[in-house]
Symmetry: C2
Subunit: 314 residues, 2 copies
Amino acid sequence: MKELIDLINKAHSIVILTHYSLDGDALGSSLGLALALDYIGKEVTVFLNESIPKSLEFLPGRNLISSNCDKNADLAISLDNSDLKRLGDGADIYAGAKKKINIDHHTTNSMEANSLWIDQNASATGEMVYKLIKAMGIPVSKDIAECLYTAIITDTGGFRYSNTTPDSHIISAELIKCGIPFARIAKKVFDIVSHSKMSLLKKTIQNLTLYCEGKVAVSWLLYDDIYPVNAQSDDYEGLVNVGINLEGVEVSLFIREEEPGRFKGSLRANDYVDVAKIAGKFSGGGHIRAAGFTAAGNPDDIIRRVLDEIKKEL
Amino acid sequence: MKELIDLINKAHSIVILTHYSLDGDALGSSLGLALALDYIGKEVTVFLNESIPKSLEFLPGRNLISSNCDKNADLAISLDNSDLKRLGDGADIYAGAKKKINIDHHTTNSMEANSLWIDQNASATGEMVYKLIKAMGIPVSKDIAECLYTAIITDTGGFRYSNTTPDSHIISAELIKCGIPFARIAKKVFDIVSHSKMSLLKKTIQNLTLYCEGKVAVSWLLYDDIYPVNAQSDDYEGLVNVGINLEGVEVSLFIREEEPGRFKGSLRANDYVDVAKIAGKFSGGGHIRAAGFTAAGNPDDIIRRVLDEIKKEL
């Protein structure tokens, strides 16, 4: 940490970079750190590969985002990113910087840097940025707190995922003491549903079918359901949970037709079925209670074949 | 607190009572305290007016629940309850006890007791019970931690409601250090959907209709939707949020036909509309962004009349 703070103190121009497919931890930790470095007089910019997702448009510090970042900055700080490729166009900016810092909480990290700080126990990079800002003696403003709180709730699913730690709560206690509108933030991050997602959710619930005395839930979306609503990639998030959260269900299967005749399948289990094993039968994989696969053909046939494998494990 | 601990220390037989229409804070704080008092050798029972809701059946300490509680206990402790009537059949047990303690976090409380501890700033009674157990020097076991964590997440909506305090997080940090399966608890408390609720949700989404360029969302359930699925009272919870959470919506109206021809209406607003004022036009009331009313007649007519009032406020 001392080495890292030294590098920051010696730099004047600093560029903050994060992974593409922006999420609340990537953007929240980037803007939170940028606001802190701006406060102590650094010439700091944040580089993004894409526009800000609607659900995160409320974050403060957006004025520090620049598409025209210094390609020879004194220091580049990569946040929440485990792989140079995932910096997208930011990879060149990282490469061109005189010094490099890498702060991340992922379990594998292949980034090279003058100073690396990887904490696999941190539930969010936002927690690490909080500790860094405190260690540098920079006051945590309300704006910084909003950014870091958003980072933490995103990566912990609002303190519900098993990666949540006592530190996630202790830091959040400090952040909400700054007077942030945490209830509104949670609403924006978790509750707001886009029109396209509502269409997909409606169809998913309509199609929901139970098998094996209600222990298996199956649902699907066809290309004709998805195409007309101009669905975004995050609209599919959680649709497999419609089935897994239904009372009495042990396994949920959800398939969606990405391209005509090509399906992406998601499998979830609650307590005892190994869905990674089932996904493996279709050249897929994943975790024991959350796995996925792809398959070509017609949906009835794919569902029937997966159901046959699920039945063997029930 | 000292007075309260003295009363507990002097008692041998203790009955714990809470309000009917059990929720996670009422039951979690009751079982958590019962487990702690059992640990220090008290003869403790918990009296309930009803069976445990399915979503809370996982809570430890259920062996301390008794329908045959001591009617002349040395001490009765009322938890999370603001009104003697809400103790149901427990009111007699409370009246018959030699000494009485009342611990609650509601803003109004009309209970009489030898020792009263009301903390309106506590987000859950579970937080107060945690402080009491710590002050008594009783170790917080994993079972106790599960009960109190459930209490806190219930009353804070998983740390998302505006009543959440830094203490809610600090205490939760201590509770999860006990090794409780907090992710599974959150899933049971928040995610599991009953079959009847899924039917109502499906119909609510199907009926969802937008007005005023998408600023107003309206949905409804008719008696014929509700009656066949044997809906429970908590199945309606959150159905008004289907509309209010849709992108771009400012006001959500949801009506359900409780009895043929009799409707219960819920109104929600996001940012600027005063829905208490609108509900007032129909002899209802509530808060500025969450209100309700009842109305008789046909649904189209009721919706049209409420829409007319909403339009005036947009």
